[in-house]
Symmetry: D2
Subunit: 313 residues, 4 copies
């Protein structure tokens, strides 16, 4: 089945898919298929493959291609598939984007380049060139915790006005600025420019402020919860939206079940998601990308207790 083009003014819940591994660190395609179906059946509105939660930075190029192939094929046009094109420079990001385009994705999600240090002008040039090379919509991905550069509000708005980017995924944690971007988008009448938050614990607030959607890592574990939260927000039942978000907030404690020191911050967070998905029977292992530490048995039990309390097990 043909891929789905990204709708103008794209909206909704778009989980950043975990990448399941086999015991020997290869992409576990059967688990990935189950995960894709689990998400879509949960009611999500799109899928984001090869994001930070997907451990993209932990994959080889070949593994990335495999992930995209499986996701696009399994999705089978039911929802749009967005793919990260995340790399240290423009040529490499274009290479990643071309693989994604060949796999049939609906849109690209592009971070600023990293490792070297860039000006905002250079970052705009990065997006301009990626967009010029690919005939696909591009969403800007603001994630300073990973690339150590903030996409400034003026940068985002300029790129939106010039048509370089079709949307924003904001994982900066700077909610006041996020709201400023939404307001400026509205003021300028850039109605097709989609604004998604990655702040999965205050999504009710983001929707109140006018966000179009959310990219929740925790959505992997409970896609139906985030789909419900979205529906409630759209109906402007803010009290119920808040309660659903609070339930999901409590569930989020699975990311702190690892032992600090042995495990780094990324392995702790993503390992919590993977362990929960393993316990829920969606994926086969909680293996992490090399060199990250996997949750051990004691940590798995802590996650299990949280899932039981949440009624998800």
């Amino acid at each position: 089945m043909a891929n789905l083009p990204l709708p103008k003014g794209f909206k909704g819940i778009v989980p950043p898919l975990c990448t399941p591994f086999t015991e020997d660190h290869e992409v576990d395609t059967a688990s990935l298929e189950r995960l894709v179906n689990f998400q879509i059946e949960g009611g999500v509105h799109g899928l984001f493959a090869l994001g930070s939660t997907s451990e993209t930075a932990l994959l080889t190029d070949k593994q990335r291609a495999t992930v995209l192939e499986v996701v696009v094929k399994t999705t089978a046009g039911r929802v749009p598939v967005l793919a990260g094109a995340i790399d240290t420079n423009t040529s490499r990001a274009i290479d990643q984007a071309q693989t994604a385009k060949q796999a049939g994705v609906s849109a690209l999600v592009v971070t600023p380049p990293f490792y070297a240090r860039f000006s905002q002008a250079e970052v705009i040039e990065h997006y301009r060139q990626v967009r010029a090379e690919l005939d696909l919509p591009v969403m800007a991905y603001d994630i300073p915790v990973a690339v150590h550069l903030k996409l400034e509000r003026a940068t985002v708005i300029q790129m939106a006005q010039e048509g370089i980017i079709a949307g924003l995924k904001d994982s900066s944690g700077d909610e006041a600025n996020f709201r400023g971007v939404v307001m400026e988008r509205n003021r300028l009448g850039l109605n097709d420019f989609s604004i998604f938050t990655g702040s999965e614990l205050i999504v009710d607030g983001a929707f109140l402020w006018g966000a179009d959607g959310c990219v929740p890592g925790l959505g992997n574990v409970d896609p139906a919860g985030y789909a419900r939260l979205y529906k409630l927000a759209r109906s402007e039942d803010w009290a119920a939206t808040r309660l659903e978000q609070e339930r999901l907030y409590r569930l989020f404690s699975i990311i702190n079940a690892a032992t600090v020191g042995r495990t780094g911050p990324t392995a702790s967070a993503l390992g919590g998601f993977k362990t929960a998905l393993m316990l829920r029977g969606i994926i086969a292992t909680n293996v992490m990308g090399r060199p990250m530490t996997r949750y051990n048995q004691a940590e798995v039990e802590r996650v299990r207790a949280i899932l039981v309390e949440a009624g998800l097990l």
Copy 2:
């Protein structure tokens, strides 16, 4: 000619080679050959290809392979060639390392993985696995400004003791800790463990403290100067060593000739080196890796003035 194995207790000046580009952003192999010869004729003791100064993060894999091929072939065994294996995870770093090994390099220089956030234990695992896969000496490359993680002293010493790494290239700017690593190396009698500083402006101090060598970005522009500095330090003529370092310090102002804002910090620094090399007739252009901004004419003139004053033009 066969490549040179890395000598035990490797020492000296090892410039991190700039990567010259053609006007259309391809590796300018003729310029690179000239640069290699210029360095070796300047008296350096090794060459470091695909480091941060080489804009490795700005190159494609194919360009990286080209660089290594040209550098190893042009060097022709006159000095050891070290190659960066710098990537976001262990599998990718091993891929980079294998390309380097096939090109015939003498040793690898490996940063911690980046983009995701890792514990020191995970970083040790990274080095352990890279070392286990490759039959080449590995130097740890401590560069928090790029990977946003510090290689702690205990981490470096543990890896030295376990034989995972053969040396350290410290570009952290933390000189007190650097000295602590040197002292701990000496205390433990790890005599073959080579410690290089990347702090190119206080190399006289580093040699006084017991460093084995330096990896000076500025060495690209004046390799003979750093070779002279090394010789003076070895002869323990500290007053003369200091004077040579001060001359090189003044020359370093070429990295601030770019206009802040238009140009990012990396393009300003590396663009200064490239512009100076272009003006000295070693490389053909001052083109930077995409999306970085190239020095414009006014900025080139500022670099020219500094070179003239330094007697290098």
Copy 3:
């Protein structure tokens, strides 16, 4: 008139009062009286003197005492008066707190100590000792941008449970954690523990999440706006709350009217408030505490234009 005790479960809008200066940098008591009355007539629920917005760190001890005296006297028991006890160590904070108590304030607002670096355990000790010395409720003031230490969630909750603190003023900008504190407060049934946000641009969200109040610097300029926002939030008219917050967000651009470089970040923000208050006729000058730079004529005109557009002039 007697001072007002802090009600249990204190709620509402509590602006952090600007400190007006005369041309020779003394506290302008007449302006301060007008400002206090302007706030109370605007409908606020309390006043916070000697906070960061009050330029407390820019005042002498004598000026601090003067401010408290004027604020308490002018307020005349109409609303509670909270006073900052902000200093580098416990003894000094207790001294500040005793001055405040003598002035007749209702409660203290205490930051962690600063300049030196402290553990969370030491910070708890700071609050414990301040609380033990004074017979006044203490609110913890989380402002890492000023004291460079974050009050961790566990620290806040422990102090709430032990009865050391009666509330929290969170100016950390970490909204996800803020919500976590609110949820943990609710889970533990600490119903009298008051949680205020200092994030004045997303207050609608904070109220949706269960915050009790807000300490908005911008409230100085438009107290009636924040009082209206509070009333709308209490009535759970979230659409109208959002619109009021958006109006106030646009007004906030007065803080960026200064020229970067000449003026530092604090003088730019607080100078914007003071200039607006001067233009609205509440205070006499826009003089800043030494050594901060005052808005110049061109900058004043920029603020004027924003106020005119906002209908506040």
Copy 4:
């Protein structure tokens, strides 16, 4: 005896005096007298009271005055006494400075203001006003770890040229920039401008680069060691200077004898000095300023073992 004016081009070892406390957190004047005599008999060239190592930020104004009185009186003109005037704004710093002047100190050591955020222009204004009010030489104290602002090289040089400051105490840890300040001072012929490093572990390097002196916290514990190091550096016996510095580096491990978490970074470092001084019989207790945690018995034993190994016990 009259106080000693600061000599032009002041040079040498100037320990930042620890402030000994009694068990009830008052200044232990008898211990402080012993400490002053111990330093001067150790051969130091000046004393710095009320610096960061003195826990100035942990003292009340009254305690600060007591410290200065004791130090000036006990010193009795044998060496110059420098006093910190460290506070959050210009008026407060001037107040501190006036107390110091009345106590008879030789010079002031002034940090940038803190808590609020300032531009370099505002910082220059701070120094200009302090200098204008006091008839005493002022040294700029660059300590970003405490005040969270770096004194830029251009700022220091401008103030030196304008005669606002007589010297610099650089505790920034940025050795490359430190050297740049020294070189610029020399280039401009500002021969009376004194440059001291606070980087007590690489002082041999700093002297090689042209520093005039050092302000070593560790000097409290072993003043004779730093005096010896200074003499060796002046005689340009760099090999011996290095060995003395290495001995002192090993001794520095006393600052890591505290348990992380219970104790904050400042209490760990300064508590190590105080515990060593207590064990050496110079001061009576290792009590720290409130709310900092004091070394416990196990930690004291760790310090003792280091002192024994160093031959200082």
